[in-house]
């Protein structure tokens, strides 16, 4: 297993959000600022890695008929952990992300990786899969969030970068802006892939 090519797979060729169209809800809802985006990305990555490892480890014990409910319970447990940890240590971020923390449970990426990868592969490779997919998710979030924060707020990671003369386009940090940002991002990626 080549870490570089794995990473490329997670970020580019099989990027869950930008290529497969999974995990869209949090990608749009929590990308109004880069900070929120990274918070969400890290939280999801943590759950992804943990659940991948556990599911991979238990893949021979869980009967295939009830595997989906079983996966969900495992995922939900880790989400609860993340929820509680964030509430304790990062209360502001926890508040900003709101219900999208418990909703990590139903993030298609996590269940999708569990079903497609972890339930069929060894623990170590499942962990790596979780890491690269999580990084891919985070990168996608940061990309969308950057566009929205820079245009919509004139700042990046909370730091004003475009000077006071810039009049921010409020639209970009509002819901329509999220849709427009991801639409143009996806189109741009399609264009780049097509030209390759």
């Amino acid at each position: 297993m080549n870490p570089v090519s794995e990473l490329k797979r997670g970020i580019w060729t099989e990027n869950a959000v930008l290529k497969l169209g999974l995990g869209l809800c949090p990608a749009l809802a929590t990308s109004s600022s880069v900070e929120n985006g990274i918070g969400m990305g890290v939280a999801a990555t943590f759950v992804l890695i943990c659940s991948n490892v556990v599911i991979s480890a238990m893949r021979k014990i869980i009967p295939s008929k009830v595997r989906i409910p079983a996966f969900i319970v495992i995922i939900a447990s880790f989400v609860t952990v993340v929820d509680l940890v964030m509430a304790g240590f990062l209360p502001d971020l926890h508040k900003a992300l709101g219900i999208f923390i418990p909703l990590i449970v139903v993030n298609c990426i996590i269940l999708g990786r569990a079903e497609a990868y972890a339930s069929k592969n060894a623990v170590l490779s499942s962990a790596v899969d979780g890491i690269v997919m999580g990084i891919g998710f985070t990168v996608a979030l940061v990309a969308i969030a950057s566009v929205r924060e820079i245009l919509g707020n004139g700042s990046f990671f909370g730091i004003n970068i475009l000077g006071s003369g810039f009049i921010p386009m409020l639209l970009m940090i509002l819901p329509p802006g999220a849709f427009l940002a991801i639409a143009f991002l996806l189109a741009g990626m399609n264009q780049v892939s097509a030209e390759k």
Binding site: A29, I68, I72, A76, T80, P175, P176, Q191
Partner: protein
């Protein structure tokens, strides 16, 4: 009575689940290619959401709160919703094969439809009463259906047109959703709810 109306209007138009809250985007994007399927999916979601709202409300207040284990909310809710969806799936498969065929793989998607879990969690967060929860669920589901049906109509048309290659598929769907979301901004402040 006006309270219920406000919840209903607010959840359908002002805080539309898809266009304003980003809940349930996966099925929204997936099932909004044809008006007929969109209506079917909308009906299924409405039913599941209404029942899920009732069941999760009961579980929250009669089990979790009683035992002081609210922190298990996420696990308990998702368990209930997953079972519920599977039940609905089985019932539809048996009773209406046509509907089952057209909804196809999207029924299981309702499980991972964050709109359903999101609704359950929101109900508890806002502190709605049982009846309010149900109204909210129906309103949210109707809003979801409305957005999906309108979207499906537009997509049927857009798909007949010469959309630039790199915009075909998801990008143009997102763009359309964005413009719909823009239009739905007009409802902002329509009711304070």
């Amino acid at each position: 009575m006006t309270g219920f109306l406000i919840i209903l209007v607010s959840s359908i138009f002002v805080n539309n689940f898809v266009l304003a809250r980003f809940l349930g985007l996966c099925p929204f994007m997936g099932v909004s290619k044809k008006i007929d399927t969109a209506i079917g999916m909308g009906a299924a979601v409405t039913f599941v959401m209404a029942v899920a709202a009732m069941v999760t409300w009961v579980i929250q207040y009669f089990i979790l709160a009683k035992f002081g284990i609210e922190y298990l909310q996420t696990i308990a809710f998702i368990l209930v919703i997953a079972s519920l969806v599977q039940l609905v799936e089985m019932v539809i498969q048996k009773t209406s094969p046509v509907l089952y065929q057209s909804l196809g793989i999207f029924l299981p998607l309702i499980t991972t439809n964050c709109a359903v879990l999101g609704l359950a969690v929101l109900n508890i967060q806002v502190g709605y009463s049982f009846l309010e929860s149900v109204i909210f669920a129906i309103g949210a589901a109707l809003g979801f259906t409305l957005a999906m049906v309108l979207m499906a109509g537009i997509r049927e048309r857009v798909d007949l047109g010469p959309v630039p290659k790199c915009f075909q598929g998801l990008p143009i769907a997102f763009l359309t959703a964005g413009l719909m979301s823009l239009a739905f901004m007009g409802f902002a402040g329509l009711v304070k709810g």
